[in-house]
Symmetry: C2
DNA sequence: TATTGTTATACTCTATAACTATA
DNA sequence: TATAGTTATAGAGTATAACAATA
């Protein structure tokens, strides 16, 4: 009956398992942090990429974030319908769309990033600045592998 | 057109984002590593917990792994149907089930853990032993928060 | 021919609410 | 009345295949 804490067996020494749990915990708190904005992790990711790369192609954003082309469509539709992103036919390639943040999009992005900073501080409260930097660096090296 | 690598903007310094990507990369390679076994991350997690806690209650496994009761049902059904887990009415509480690995379940668990060790070595190739330990420790402290 | 975006679709994971049988 | 497990269902997230317009 779970009166005592259970042993995690082989799981406790697996980085992949801890990664999964930590990522899940972050996702949950992220969801709370976005309450009222209508934004989700993926959408904020897109806003961040578009802000940092004005006139970026829709497909390129998907590649950068690991989102399949087919799934980008409705995501971009959401952002355009919300007035956060402007979608124009690309000058060089009439098949493609170039994306840029609107004023409202940039306001939303800044608002979300501020909320996310608080969220990260909350989640990483047990880690000092050096440990956070180490974690970021180690995670970055994993991602580079994939 | 993504000719050049894009800037990740505010994303690059967010632990949550890196966590999400790293966790996704692990999940993908994990999936490959399990090819042919019929196992998934959650199922191996359950096998590990049940092995480490014989006669453990179904609900307790869910709590430990962060799986909702409603979602445990079909997962345990899968494992019972595959002959990997034995489900008995608990002696102390006839509402509850106690779970134990079968011989086949223990064989499967060992097989999976061996594959997972290779998978972790693959994913963490860029990190030495000390860095892996650091990563595990830092991730553990995040999880404790949630 | 190949590529960009699109549509349709399907499968997994996760979440909630209402039910049953025991306690 | 509370709890363990169950059922049904709904929402994200992610995957593939086939299509139109353009390169």
């Amino acid at each position: 009956m779970a009166r005592n804490a259970l042993s995690f067996g082989a799981l406790s020494s697996l980085v992949g398992y801890r990664l999964r749990r930590a990522s899940g915990a972050f996702a949950l708190d992220f969801h709370d942090a976005m309450k009222g904005t209508g934004m989700r992790q993926v959408l904020v990711g897109i806003l961040a990429i578009v802000e940092a790369n004005p006139r970026v192609n829709q497909g390129a954003v998907g590649v950068a974030l690991g989102i399949k082309r087919a799934n980008m469509v409705s995501l971009i539709n959401e952002l355009v319908d919300a007035g956060l992103v402007e979608r124009e036919v690309s000058a060089d390639d009439r098949r493609a769309f170039s994306l840029t943040l609107t004023g409202a999009g940039e306001t939303m992005r800044k608002n979300c990033i501020a909320r996310i900073q608080e969220h990260e501080d909350r989640m990483l409260a047990a880690l000092d600045a050096e440990e956070r930097a180490t974690l970021l660096r180690l995670l970055g090296r994993i991602e580079a592998k994939a």
